[in-house]
Symmetry: D2
Subunit: 386 residues, 4 copies
């Protein structure tokens, strides 16, 4: 098998996380060939060079357009601010590269759909960085729902609460600017939560939302000038899944005290599930079939029976970390590429750009619902909204 050669664009936090994962993926998962860290790009050539040395890439460049057409690169990993995802991914696809793109896939469902179609047409693998969903315990959660262990799902209560912008004194960043970030908390956090909800309960059909910009102005870092925050700090959303299940979704980047509060309660007719990323190694399960008087939410600690836990550690309860989720994501991408090499009709990676577009359709609908103060239907796969 030939090792996939990686070209990484963006060397911030999430770029580093990918690099760390790509370095260890082959050791954790011997079934995939360890990739070659070939080329890294950043807007600043000097920073790219430093990153290459630190992250273990062979070469660096200050020009991402060079990277996406580099003949020694097989896979492009896009870890840049949101508004760049579309052009970078399309350029990489045009150059025949597989693409792994961070979330949100694009600033709109239309863009996301364009990206998915381009990649499909080119016969390439594509993946969106919804890493939380690969948590071994969430694989188990989806299996429990699918097998009817908790009966029919009848309610969903999801939230993704963080406080990274809770401090009004924090400077204006690209995340607050519509043209660069698209939505605010919805783009950063809501996309993860919607993807998680999709995996648990399928399509979201309708939404009614209220968005709020809590801190209306922030100061620009250099000039100190006050500048209007252009997207929402938090979003409260009523959702109705296509299967009729009602739900609530709550997303905030100003929820003081919450650091990674991606959490849900899922109620079924025979049981319920609870999860919170801040305790990512625990899944809570309640079963009506337990004996009366002995029922209760049980805390299942992640272990080798769950999803991809075992390759990390054969002992239960020892704990995975957030970076381990990126390792699983990397394995999924590399395995899909290897399959694709043998057979272009082989299944691609998951979650792919179609899921990225599906999530974006929900985000778009949420924003429109807020603008219209009305319930809004989420367009089906074929459409991308009005």
């Amino acid at each position: 098998m030939t090792a996939a050669r990686i070209g990484l664009i963006g060397t911030g936090y999430i770029g580093r996380a990918h690099a760390i994962a790509l370095r260890s993926v082959g050791t954790v998962f011997p079934d995939v060939e360890p990739p070659v860290l070939e080329l890294v790009a950043d807007t600043d050539a000097a920073r790219a060079e430093t990153a290459a040395r630190e992250l273990g890439f062979r070469r660096s460049t200050g020009d991402w357009r060079t990277l996406v057409v580099d003949p020694e690169v097989d896979v492009v990993v896009v870890c840049t601010p949101n508004h760049l995802h579309r052009d970078m991914a399309l350029a990489a696809i045009a150059a025949g590269k597989h693409v792994s793109c961070e979330k949100p896939l694009a600033l709109s469902a239309a863009d996301a759909r364009e990206m998915a179609r381009a990649a499909d047409t080119a016969g390439l693998c594509h993946l969106v960085g919804f890493n939380y969903a690969v948590n071994p315990l969430l694989v188990t959660a989806r299996e429990l729902i699918a097998s009817g262990e908790i009966g029919e799902p009848i309610g969903f209560h999801g939230r993704y609460l963080e406080d990274y912008l809770a401090d009004p004194g924090l400077a204006f960043t690209w995340r607050c600017e519509r043209a660069l970030a698209g939505a605010g908390a919805l783009a950063d956090l809501g996309t993860h939560l919607v993807d998680l909800a999709h995996g648990l309960l399928g399509d979201i059909a309708r939404v009614a939302a209220r968005l709020t910009t809590v801190i209306g102005e922030r100061r620009e870092p250099v000039s100190g000038r006050a500048r209007r925050v252009e997207n929402e700090d938090c979003a409260q959303v009523l959702v109705e899944f296509a299967n009729g299940v009602p739900g609530v979704v709550d997303v905030s980047r100003v929820a003081t005290g919450y650091k990674c509060g991606l959490a849900f309660d899922l109620f079924g007719t025979r049981g319920s599930l609870r999860f919170d990323q801040e305790r990512m190694n625990e899944l809570q399960l309640y079963r009506n079939d337990d004996r009366a008087g002995l029922r209760g939410f049980r805390t299942i600690l992640a272990g080798p029976e769950h999803g991809d836990y075992r390759p990390f550690c054969p002992a239960p309860g020892h704990g995975l970390g957030i970076n381990d989720l990126k390792v699983i994501e990397s394995r999924n991408l590399l395995a899909a590429i290897e399959r694709r090499r043998g057979d272009v009709r082989a299944p691609g990676a998951a979650p792919d750009f179609h899921e990225g577009a599906r999530v974006q359709r929900v985000i778009d609908a949420i924003e429109r619902s807020h603008a219209d103060s009305a319930w809004v239907e989420v367009p089906a796969n074929g459409g991308v909204g009005r």
Copy 2:
């Protein structure tokens, strides 16, 4: 001081809870005169007689209309199904009795307002059984918000989840019948949550809601005939407080695994609060003012520094129970009556019928929002909606 003489209507669970509380209130709170348990009514005279013996009442009757006019009764406590609250309370008021009425105060805001006005006109004390809000830790929560300890409130996430009707095999009860219960989960659970939210953040100004009847039919207990459930099993609501704070409210009587999940997260610019009735002796507080690196939600155990805890136990962390909240409620009623005796302009009990009506206005708005699939304004104090 003269002991207040109690007439209790309804001897089910909540009637018993009142009786237990009224028996011990004078010992826990020496500042109020122990009341006399004078007369108890139930629809069945024999059951009333048994109840009188078991609950310690002097006399019993099978006719509540006798009770409300009994000259030896000073206070009428209404613990009957929802649709009876209005007539019983109005009759008691007409007979010059103080009234404590279980929630929901009435089936509509209009009825509730009528009750409040009648009681005011008669110069009587009135109280609604929103017992959860007297929890000593929630007194502290309200003080912390008022004092600015968590900064400006910027978000609210409330839920009241129980599963008492989650089992589809459970029989049709009066709680499922519109004419007897009014709303479903909203009447049973939502009213408590709205009252709690009022206490924390003030008036709710607007709502957008979706109600769901998860289990559409239940069998009648005797005939076994299937019968349509006439009100909602769960309600998901977006709320906007009058002070601009956005929120989410989630209420369900079919949330498998939840037994008394009255809970909230309240985010402020400088801190946050969390509470869950299932752990009613714990309040969680996060403060930005704690030193960086040492911040975290702290679990405050109920103790003598909080609200009315001390008369129950001078030692912290030993734990109050749900019935103790009824004791505090009883004290509040009796103390208000004693004050009123000395001075008819003395403050009444809290939460009073006006709060009952205010809560009902929100419930009415939630139901209309669902019917109209639209945001609905909650009428101000003067009005009761269309």
Copy 3:
């Protein structure tokens, strides 16, 4: 049935708790006749008179010796400092009164045995105030062990941690004085924990202990003079139960941050149990019989399936409080007295003075183990020491 007439000695915290419980016991438990609160004694006649009024007793006295022989008193409840328990209980027994005595029953196993024998000889009911053990969830815990639900017990890890004397600035009290309190943390806290352990696993056969007085001196409240603390602040104990189960016991009155940390882990070959009084409405159960991958400690919320919960509330998860445990204790005492009236061979109350003596034998052995730096056998029922 004739109502039992109560004489209460001591009007501090625990005396009040008894009074509150005795006031409501008949309403919560209709199967017992509500007792008459006849007479209350305190060392100071004026304080006794105030207490009578506040707690609802008919009469008061400044002389406990008057109380124990009062012809209108059937039951004497002893709520005084430890060193008085023996003389008061023996005097009450001599006068033919049933006795409920707070823990520790006496300052030594020898004294406790004398008290138990005197009460038995007189054919009277006797009870020790180990109220924690009547928690409905602990009744369930004992049933689970007895039924083999968690297999053979193989380990016990118990602790009772509080911090009521953690502050070195707190004044010297009678609790620090050997002649008045006997042991320190062991008397206050250890006795509860040993009683709990007895109920779960039976007799403790051997102990090895280390006692520590962390704060060696405290100031006397009036004089401000430094005075040596004469008993232990904490005790660490290895235990071996008669059935061979090994265990650890940890008791402290200076465990900063703990308010009522009476807790245990109990390991069995097929499951485990966990409990913590600070969350007294939760019992945690782990079962090996749960399906692989779905095992975990489940949190069982107290409800009507457990012990004496139902008379307090028919709904699960609504929560009992510490005072409710005293209500159950009072019911147990009154029911035993009623049974005894009909048949002097009827079973007495539980836990009785024999349990009080059994606990004291363990405490004595712990103290001796510390003194001798050696393992010490706990004498069997017949004996009271080496």
Copy 4:
């Protein structure tokens, strides 16, 4: 800087964990040169070859004696059963290799001391795999203690509970055999806990212990013959630190339901700390200095303010995993080697073989205490016991 060339002996669980860590350490910590995975040994040459391919080593061998003298190897990592640690480490040291050895360092304190002295004499770096102690939150815990944040330490309550041998049906393994494993739960688990305790409170001076073999016999895997288990399943220990702090230690490999229950409570005069490896991203802190009525254990989520968290993720609360601890351990080793290259008097790695020996002295004392049923002094650094 020259990359360190690694020779790894043993390809089981913990060997793989080291390989995973060594692969990503240079990316996570750019301040160390990524090591070269040079040579891997296993008893079976074919398995070693497979491991080399899967774990990313250049070469393999079926003979560890070849590995330790290989000229292309700079560092030997020993991941074999306990009884082999001594000979392998001594051979590696004799060949001039730095050594990282898994715990327990040796089967006795005498052996461990010999290893430490040999490595020191040779001027080599040495490290023992006490990976739990490098948890960023435990770095913070030690800092809090050192800075007096919780006042004077006055009590310690440590436990390491797992259930990997709780099932009596599990076969006899080398872990049950004295000659191969040394102690049982004490070697596997107790060593970690003692190292943790050392870091928090310094030397342990005296112990009193009781060891129990709960499951006396297990069947051999092939023959099915019953065979006596030769070491303890659990150990209960009273400890006294050199600074006078009393404590309890509880270790078990048969604690049903516990998967990685390495936990402690540490009480101080002004605050307390709590930690549990099963929630390794949380540290609980109680401070007396918090305002009365607002005190409580706060849950600090791991974040960039703590120890070595930041290189893994700049965002708090996102979670590290057990393998990340091995990455930190690897960094510590490699950084020490790099320092040593520049200056042979530079500080070595921590925890080193001296700490391994210090832990083993405590384990030896615990075993002797059990044998003698007596308190036993832990010999000071110079000695290794009787």
